[in-house]
């Protein structure tokens, strides 16, 4: 076991070495499709099909894509909440996918998750105090007055009053529930937090509160985020590096300003132009969307985007482009045969 990960004092923040905190290599998660009386496997849904990326400490890595593109499956695979078909996930120096039970328990106190739906992810029968304190009880054996003290501390960090600990989730609004969910994820002082659509279920005026809160907490605790969202404007505000997913693959990845300033993949361009957002000065709103999102089974041959792509030619129907560095741009990766 790696002592750097098991030791959960605040001091570990200073240990963050240059390099990557989380590394995902060629991750594949397939779901079998079973049919017939004998439940024979007749095919696979390739939810995540060869995804590789690496996240630097104290930065936010964004995953964007339409529903069904596999972004949530990536998160669940990293946390080993679902069985992974193949690939490698390294957190710190630990191989997550081959970790034993004890190692996994330690990892889980460092890899936490904030869920999309603040209504479905809090147990309605538990008080806020026990929801937020439960991870501490399980992982650190903290009880009694110390537990209460630490719960109150984290609640005040996320902007809730300490009196909330005796109340139940239904007494809170959507934004406040999302704060409870964030408090629960942060109470173990994790290094890495996965935010799975943290604001998509919230009202507009509450969204900005939660986005600011996540940023403040990141600065205060040097958190590293994997930020999953479908709203490109939200991603632009929150993330440092963004990867665009399509049909289980990353099709483009770049630092946020580069991706938004100069998107190269036709799918990224489509996504950007599709969003009816308030106009920024000088930005022309154009729309050039084609086709429906693809079915989850039966990928087309060649580039997965070819049925919707305005530039697709004969080569795109046969060759599946790998994710490659764009010449001259060290951090810009692209999977398109038509890149210059």
């Amino acid at each position: 076991m790696n002592p750097g990960i098991s030791n959960n004092g605040l001091s570990r923040r200073s240990e963050a070495k240059p390099g990557y905190l989380l590394k995902v290599e060629d991750l594949k998660t397939y779901f079998p499709i079973k049919k017939g009386l004998l439940r024979k496997t007749v095919g696979y849904v390739k939810a995540v099909d060869g995804v590789s990326f690496a996240v630097k400490p104290a930065l936010t890595f964004g995953l964007v894509g339409e529903s069904g593109c596999g972004k949530t499956t990536v998160a669940r695979s990293i946390l080993r909440l679902i069985p992974v078909t193949s690939g490698k996930v390294t957190f710190g120096n630990t191989d997550v996918l081959s970790a034993d039970k004890l190692q996994m328990q330690n990892l889980r106190s460092n890899l936490c998750l904030v869920f999309q739906d603040p209504f479905g992810s809090l147990n309605p029968r538990m008080t806020v105090g026990s929801i937020v304190g439960e991870p501490l009880k399980i992982h650190k054996n903290v009880t009694g007055a110390e537990l209460t003290e630490r719960v109150c501390l984290i609640l005040s960090k996320v902007g809730l009053s300490p009196e909330s600990i005796n109340r139940y989730p239904h007494e809170f609004s959507g934004g406040q529930r999302q704060r409870i969910g964030i408090a629960r994820a942060l109470i173990l002082q994790p290094k890495f937090v996965i935010c799975d659509e943290p604001v998509s279920a919230l009202d507009v005026s509450i969204q900005s509160q939660i986005l600011n809160l996540l940023k403040d907490l990141q600065d205060e605790f040097s958190l590293t985020y994997l930020f999953i969202a479908h709203d490109l404007a939200v991603v632009q505000f929150s993330c440092d590096i963004v990867a665009v997913m399509y049909m289980g693959k990353i099709v483009e990845q770049a630092p946020v300003n580069e991706l938004y300033g100069d998107p190269l993949h036709p799918y990224t361009i489509t996504l950007m132009s599709a969003i009816p957002r308030l106009k920024a000065p000088g930005r022309q709103i154009t729309r050039q969307t084609v086709g429906e999102p693809p079915p989850i089974v039966g990928q087309p041959a060649g580039c997965p985007f070819n049925p919707r792509c305005p530039f697709a030619d004969g080569r795109c129907l046969v060759e599946n482009p790998p994710l490659r560095q764009v010449p001259g741009k060290s951090e810009h990766l692209l999977a398109c045969l038509h890149s210059k």
Binding site: D203, S205, Q209, A274, I275, P276, R277, A280
Partner: protein
């Protein structure tokens, strides 16, 4: 089509008014209340606005502000007996819908006024084919034979750009994607060529690329049929590009009513200003987002005075804002706002203050 109208409307006592004015629907001082076990919920209070012929009017607000209940009140679909339209008029084509009998209202609903809902899966019946469900509307309102209704249904599916409509018509809703289902909903709504289409969060459940397609489709259909649209949404972004007039609702009342361009250029109500500032925008690179503090008030316990004052950066400590609710008033021609601090808003000097 006009012939159909005449046949249908003769029985209802509902004549299309040759409109000298171009207002199709005008809602006047509408109030809808719900009695619940916890108390009376004033879901819609004193709401007035007008939708012009062949134009889009947008009703914007956060969840629970009363925008959907306003739409249901127009359709007279407020669930009774707990919900009740307690005051107001809904003038559609010169006639007050609230005074019509149930039968006459049924001849208008789905025929002259149609509605599409947010969740296309739950608003389509899973045990009938989409063709059956569209034909049902046509046969109910237009007295067509089964074969004629079928042809019309195929035609209307083609108009909403569903590929291969002849085959698709005999499919069930679960065989279609979310965007396709929303197209079917739109097909159903426009099958009787309504004068007014109420679109309640038509794209909220859809992916961004599909959202754009559906909004463009609505635009095209509006032009083709010269239809008015009442667009209900929480997303100010989709409003900016396609509505002519806009009402921002907050806590059951309209906070600001304006033409779209001036509202986005110079919002007058602090809530509208906050909403516009707090949205992350593409192309902007601020370090922090502006936030409206606090939460949307609980409709059972609205704050006294101006309902926005606990969250308002200007009026939170003002005695008048805390005690007297400002009503919607015209401050600039064509622009109405309910805020004591809005420029041009009259402040009657209250001796108590």
């Amino acid at each position: 089509m006009t012939q159909n109208d005449d046949i249908l409307l003769r029985g209802t006592g509902f004549q299309p008014v040759s409109s000298t004015n171009d207002i199709l629907l005008s809602v006047e001082n509408l109030s809808t209340h719900f009695s619940t076990q916890q108390g009376l919920v004033r879901a819609v209070q004193d709401v007035s606005f007008a939708v012009k012929n062949s134009r889009t009017f947008a009703l914007v607000g956060e969840s629970g502000c009363g925008k959907s209940i306003t739409a249901l009140s127009i359709m007279r679909l407020v669930p009774e007996p707990q919900g009740k339209i307690v005051a107001g008029k809904i003038i559609f084509n010169g006639r007050d819908l609230l005074g019509l009998s149930g039968n006459r209202m049924r001849a208008i609903r789905g025929n002259r006024i149609a509605m599409i809902f947010q969740e296309p899966m739950t608003s389509l019946n899973p045990v009938f084919t989409v063709g059956y469900q569209i034909e049902e509307v046509i046969r109910l309102h237009q007295h067509k034979s089964k074969a004629e209704a079928r042809d019309l249904a195929v035609e209307v599916l083609r108009q909403v750009r569903i590929p291969d409509p002849q085959r698709r018509i005999s499919e069930y809703p679960h065989q279609m994607s979310g965007g396709m289902r929303q197209r079917v909903m739109i097909a159903m709504a426009i099958s009787c060529k309504p004068a007014l289409l109420i679109a309640d969060e038509p794209t909220t459940a859809l992916d961004v690329t599909i959202q754009a397609q559906i909004l463009n489709l609505l635009d095209d259909i509006q032009k083709q049929y010269k239809m008015s649209i009442l667009l209900i949404t929480h997303d100010l972004g989709i409003v900016e590009e396609r509505a002519e007039n806009i009402a921002v609702m907050y806590a059951s009342r309209i906070a600001e009513l304006s033409d779209c361009r001036s509202l986005f250029e110079q919002p007058l109500h602090p809530y509208t200003q906050g909403l516009l500032k707090s949205m992350p925008r593409l192309g902007f690179t601020e370090k922090r987002l502006y936030t409206i503090t606090g939460v949307v008030p609980d409709p059972l316990h609205f704050p006294g005075g101006c309902k926005f004052h606990p969250r308002c950066p200007i009026g939170c400590n003002d005695k008048r804002c805390q005690t007297i609710e400002p009503l919607l008033r015209e401050v600039i021609p064509g622009r109405q706002v309910a805020c004591w601090y809005a420029p041009g808003y009259e402040r009657p000097d209250d001796p108590k203050l």
